[in-house]
């Protein structure tokens, strides 16, 4: 099986600091790590490889400092890590990002399955999986909570539609965007911690860096980066200012205050 994993290097969202005035992320406040949902994609890739053999190639579009995250991916079991890094990729919205990733996959040649995360912790759109699938003209399922069958030419997954979960059969090649909690053939999938030996090996491993020129046989360079992006962020601000001023109460007084409030709010 030729397995492709899309890995987005993202800031550690539990540590990252925000510039409250500007409404932007302070990029220096934390390193880039593997988007938490993408860890599940790596884990599923390993299980597929165990069943069918093959190789796991990861593709990431990110600035050069994402290398640390890619070494982590190699330590976790990815065979080959490709970093798409070039000024011309900068400013990409999801359409341009997906076009770039799809072009890189085309350049790789044939694939059987593409695995990615349900969404990223920074951009948080959940667009990239479905858009890559459309650009490569393969079926996809998003918000996948279970892979219940995996054959050479087709798979069965469970996907969250919103009102309920549905069972879907996809013909391979296909793309699957993974959610959590996640099951693979009846077993719960959890990211495992890489072994020390693997971490050391990954430190010396090669990371292939591709520039826009490397894609010129498979891509229209005008569709990359900001040139290929129809959406523009025109303004942003910090959202977690609450404006609430809590009434602080202690112990037993808390119960009577809450009881009173619940009566006033019409709960009781």
């Amino acid at each position: 099986m030729n397995i492709v994993v899309l890995i987005k290097p993202t800031p550690d969202i539990t540590k990252v600091k925000f510039d409250i005035e500007k409404g932007t992320v302070n990029r220096a406040s934390t390193n880039l790590e593997i988007n938490p949902f993408d860890l599940y994609a790596i884990e599923v890739a390993k299980r597929i490889k165990k069943l069918f053999g093959g190789t796991i190639v990861s593709i990431s579009m990110a600035p050069p400092q994402a290398e640390v995250a890619l070494r982590d991916a190699l330590a976790r079991g990815v065979d080959r890590a490709i970093l798409l890094s070039d000024r011309r990729f900068a400013g990409a919205d999801t359409l341009a990002t997906s076009y770039t990733l799809a072009s890189a996959i085309r350049k790789l040649g044939s694939f059987d399955i593409i695995l990615c995360g349900e969404k990223s912790v920074d951009g948080d759109t959940a667009h990239v999986g479905p858009e890559v699938a459309e650009l490569l003209r393969v079926p996809h399922a998003s918000f996948v909570t279970q892979v219940s069958r995996f054959d050479k030419d087709r798979i069965v997954v469970e996907s969250d539609y919103g009102d309920a979960y549905y069972e879907i059969e996809l013909r391979l090649p296909a793309l699957v965007a993974l959610s959590r909690p996640l099951m693979f053939l009846g077993e719960t999938v959890e990211p495992s911690i890489p072994k020390v030996g693997d971490v050391l090996r990954a430190r010396r491993a090669k990371i292939e860096v591709w520039s826009a020129d490397d894609l010129k046989d498979v891509a229209d360079l005008n569709r990359l980066g900001i040139l290929g992006s129809p959406t523009r962020v025109v303004k942003s601000y910090y959202a977690l200012e609450s404006g609430r001023e809590a009434k602080v109460v202690r112990g037993i007084e808390g119960v009577s205050t809450v009881l009173q409030a619940l009566k006033e709010l019409g709960v009781l």
Binding site: S98, Y166, A246, V255, V258
Partner: protein, 334 residues
């Protein structure tokens, strides 16, 4: 022909058009009044076309575009995509709205990529600014940042979070047009072989987004058995039980109960957080609640900043005493 009006994708795989679809029709009317043009509703249907179209017109559609399918209740994503691409090419709407349900968020990007359009995700608002441009407002960075986004090409495509716009009042005297379309198989090759819905796999046990009152528990809970106490409290308050992520990770609660960035976004009248610290990923899921009550042993817990009442104390003691008090009040206690 030039780009004009607003198209709404009507999500219709359940018992009928989803509530979120009606919310979008209301918003579409408001925007069409500013940018001009019709409100089109695009829907895939198996039968009772007229009945459904009448409802969509009553909620704000001027024109209902119907694609006939046999398997409405087992929707094929690729067929929905092909229908929308076909409809957008013919209608040329300035703006296309989708509900930001998981289904809508899986479908809309495929449509956008197919026609090369820009798409803005999970919006909390859509408005027309002074220069007549459509502006889309959305949270990003797990809810930490709000961004205003413009799309510089046509059409503008947006998924809108369910529940942020009100359902408009239906007006059954409104008149509209119905256009029935047939999708021929060469417009959507290999959709049926590529993607097959085998059936409903699991119903959702709860829909915490719809609850008016929520009792939400976090890592302050010490064991699985203890959950019963808080379940009882929720029941007595007529509230829905919910939780933070660690309880789902521990396998004590199911994902459908989780509030937050990777769970459900809720907006109840009253949100009662017990033993929850208030991490940004949790806050992102509940900060728009009307009234927030939290209980925490740690007076410096961040959730205090998002609360109307902050009780410094033990959640167990609080729950037992409140339970007693409520029962006494209702006259069933001792």
């Amino acid at each position: 022909m030039s780009w004009s009006g607003v198209a709404v994708y009507v999500e219709n795989y359940g018992r009928g058009p989803s509530k979120a679809s009606f919310e979008l029709l209301g918003k579409a009317r408001e925007i069409a009044a500013k940018i001009g043009g019709f409100v089109h509703a695009i829907v895939l249907l198996d039968k009772e076309v007229e009945k459904c179209a009448d409802v969509l017109v009553a909620y704000g559609a001027d024109e209902v575009i119907v694609y006939r399918v046999e398997d409405r209740e087992l929707p094929n994503l690729l067929i929905h995509k092909c229908s929308l691409v076909d409809a957008i090419k013919q209608l040329m709407p300035k703006l296309v709205l989708f509900p930001a349900t998981p289904w809508g968020r899986s479908l809309a990007p495929r449509v956008a990529a197919s026609i090369g359009a820009g798409l803005t995700a999970d919006c909390l608002d859509v408005y027309v600014d002074d220069s007549g441009d459509i502006v889309q407002v959305r949270p990003a960075f797990t809810g930490n940042i709000i961004a205003h986004i413009k799309t510089i090409t046509h059409p503008v495509m947006t998924t809108v979070r369910p529940g942020v716009f009100p359902v408009p009042k239906p007006d059954f005297s409104r008149k509209g047009r119905v256009i029935e379309k047939v999708l021929n198989s060469n417009m959507c090759p290999s959709a049926k072989e590529g993607y097959r819905v085998l059936g409903l796999s699991r119903e959702k046990k709860v829909r915490i987004q719809e609850a008016r009152v929520i009792v939400s528990i976090g890592r302050g809970v010490k064991s699985r058995e203890d959950i019963k106490l808080f379940e009882e409290l929720a029941k007595e308050l007529g509230a829905q039980l919910a939780c933070s992520k660690p309880l789902v990770d521990a396998g004590w609660m199911e994902k459908d109960f989780q509030v937050g960035f990777s769970g459900n976004i809720v907006k109840p009248k009253v949100y009662i957080a017990l033993g929850i610290s208030g991490a940004p990923q949790h806050i992102a899921g509940m900060k728009d609640s009307d009234f927030v009550i939290s209980v925490n042993t740690d007076p410096s817990a961040p959730i205090a900043r998002y609360s109307n009442i902050f009780v410094v104390g033990d959640m167990y003691e609080f729950a037992k005493k409140l339970l007693d008090a409520v029962r006494t009040l209702k006259g069933v206690g001792n």
